[in-house]
Symmetry: C2
Subunit: 436 residues, 2 copies
């Protein structure tokens, strides 16, 4: 735009300052902000008074002239201001004001008014970064020849216990009242599809009806799943490392503005694979040598992962071979140590914890039935529900494995956010009614 | 590959033919198929007999030599065959055999064994086409500066009646038993986000607990939503036309192989906007002139849309200004005829019906409350649930509107499939238990 170009700006009032017969308005839209200057001498008394009383977040249409003086930022000299959408109540702090939206002080108020705090520039930067991450993920999988499989949310197949799932009545016409669950993981459907497409992925919501209040738990979260034929555990871990790094790199490259707003540089060299790998047994030894009390066979807790991260130089690391007792039933056992599974999880240091998991899947029917039995999934109802998944093992089943990544955990880690709820627009938490 | 190159092929047996001491095996993977030729003279008796008994869908690793003779297709001369995954039961017709998978004859059997029929080349072609369509949609919205908003599935806000939604108990810690629904449409969350990002979209599952058995109904479907600030109805319809066409064009360009398998050419010139537009009133007149009995104020039925399509030259067309009585509450009324809404729906001819809808949204609080009241959404519970959505109207609200597109309906139309269930991997239907 040249100087003296007549323009019309649509946006929201961010701040207003009144100074000696002059009103300065910062007007913001999704692309940035501009300072508008209204001189009392150039406006009618009514117009000037309206402007004096205008409050933040009022939506306006401002007509005027663009001015750019040497070494000064562009200004809009106001000729006319029209109120498009007024503000009838107060939210404090004002969403677009500069405050610590992720701090403890405002948590409940911000969650209660999430629909308005989406206008906060830091929350916007997080959600933009996440949007880019998700879009770059689609592009990356596309470039690698993967098929996006449209796996369903409504399912009868759960990765964990029925109690940890949301249940609903499907009310199907056959007059049966069928209990149906919200998907905890769509690996079941992806495993069927692997025998057609060999490489499939999905990004959609997964659900957990858990009461965890920790800063890594959401009841509804964005879940990236990939399932690949013919890959063993080492290949899966390498694949997952590259996937994580390349999507992150492509996102970071396009998010310099967002990272500046959040004041969070991302060091790509630091995130570059290969990542070191330790066994679960080694992890237990290390933790015990640090005086941590940990029972063999249990999952690593967040604190354990934090201690391991410190011991391993505060870098990303894999823990390989989680015990059977701590893992879900579809994962293969380690043939050389049947207490362990063929799994490998990528852990972020400094308490951010698990970012993604990889696992070889059981291809043998008897081995699957044995694991289901070990996990208590062997009732007649289970046998009916899981029959088709079991049948896959008797119908040209090939070696395959999967990767699962919790998007909010990755975004939280990359942007160093206090809580996963900060990485999602409308968080679903155990201690809040899910509205808005 | 050169002639006489030693190779190892991993795949599934598609067909087997035995002819004079020679076995011909068509081996297929996700990238295509190859003929393997096994000569009795070059194998041990055991190996040859194993191959004689091999059945379709057995997963194999075949080692051998690639042969390419003049004017002949590439062949694999078998040296060794290893069975990776055996087949222990029969599915008839065999998934990879050439049969009409979308025909009426096999519907129930195919749905019951969907996990195996994903290997059918026609169903694979549809799902690949859909995968490309979804990925191209993300790329297109990205190129237009849209933010992907991670809207939730779990919500208290419904577009239609509670009865038409899936309900579940959220069991939140506050000990309240909160009824929560599965999203019918995430426009509510997108409308909040429009006041931050101005242009947002989402592609995820939407849910309807309806008992419709028609060939355009799924209980869980992929729903593309976009919400845009500062656009009026004409602009929205133009935007939606371009979106539909450009995503389709980019998908079709990359899907020649899939369209060949389905024997369904897509004529891009025919799908090119602008599309003709008729008013709802005009549509009623046309239908009545054809002897159709239709009450003013009701939605157009599939048959009505089919008749209109014929009258309008079997091309895509918009119907503008649906009556209030037939539309959801958040859509603006037409200021010049308060019986009508500011909506414009794109209809495909030949009975394929609505592909997408566009609508201006109400920005005035009193107008919204009036519409909610007209639709019976004015109980104290509604006021509590929808309060934040109503509040948006009192907090710098700007003109905005949305586009909603049912992905399976569009895929069904483009590929001329009999039913939307043919356009999704694991369809959720009212007359079937959702398993697999």
């Amino acid at each position: 735009m040249n100087d003296s170009t007549p323009v019309e700006v649509l946006g929201w009032i961010k701040t207003k300052r009144v100074l000696k017969n002059t009103i300065f308005l910062d007007i913001v839209d999704s692309s940035g902000e501009i300072q508008a200057v209204a001189l009392k001498s150039k406006l009618s008394q009514h117009e000037y008074e309206q402007m004096e009383q205008i409050s933040p977040e009022v939506a306006v249409k401002v007509s005027g002239i663009i001015k750019r003086e040497l070494n000064k930022r562009v200004e809009l000299s106001v000729k006319n201001l029209e109120i498009i959408g007024d503000v009838k109540f107060c939210v404090d702090p004002c969403p677009r004001s500069n405050f610590d939206i992720f701090g403890k002080k405002h948590v409940n108020y911000v969650l209660k008014n999430r629909h308005l705090y989406l206008r906060n520039d830091k929350l916007m930067a997080v959600l933009r970064f996440k949007s880019k991450f998700l879009i770059e993920a689609h592009k990356w999988f596309d470039s690698k020849g993967f098929v996006f499989l449209d796996a369903p949310v409504l399912t009868m197949l759960l990765l964990y216990d029925d109690d940890s799932a949301f249940k609903l009545n499907y009310k199907n016409e056959a007059k049966k009242e069928n209990d149906v669950f919200l998907s905890q993981c769509n690996m079941f459907q992806l495993e069927a599809a692997v025998h057609a497409f060999e490489k499939v992925y999905n990004i959609s919501s997964s659900f957990r009806a858990e009461n965890s209040k920790g800063n890594r738990y959401l009841r509804e979260y964005w879940h990236l799943k990939a399932e690949i034929a013919w890959m063993n555990l080492d290949e899966l871990a390498t694949f997952a490392s590259e996937m994580f790094f390349e999507i992150t790199k492509n996102t970071v490259t396009k998010s310099q503005k967002e990272l500046e707003i959040l004041n969070t540089p991302v060091d790509l060299d630091y995130l570059k694979p290969p990542f070191q790998k330790i066994t679960y047994d080694k992890a237990i030894d290390l933790l015990r040598s640090e005086g941590r009390k940990i029972e063999w066979g249990k999952s690593l807790r967040t604190k354990d992962e934090e201690v391991l991260g410190r011991l391993l130089g505060e870098k990303l690391f894999f823990v390989q071979g989680m015990p059977n007792t701590a893992e879900a039933f579809p994962f293969s056992k380690n043939k050389e140590d049947l207490r362990l599974t063929q799994t490998c999880d990528l852990i972020a240091p400094m308490g951010f914890g698990e970012l993604l998991g990889t696992a070889e899947k059981i291809t043998n029917k008897m081995a699957l039935l044995e694991r289901m039995s070990e996990k208590g999934k062997n009732t007649p109802i289970d046998m009916e529900r899981y029959q088709w998944y079991i049948d896959l093992r008797d119908y040209g089943c090939v070696p395959h494995g999967g990767v699962g990544m919790g998007i909010e955990r990755v975004i939280r880690y990359l942007l160093k956010l206090p809580h996963v709820r900060d990485a999602i627009s409308f968080p679903r938490l155990c201690n809040r009614v899910p509205n808005p």
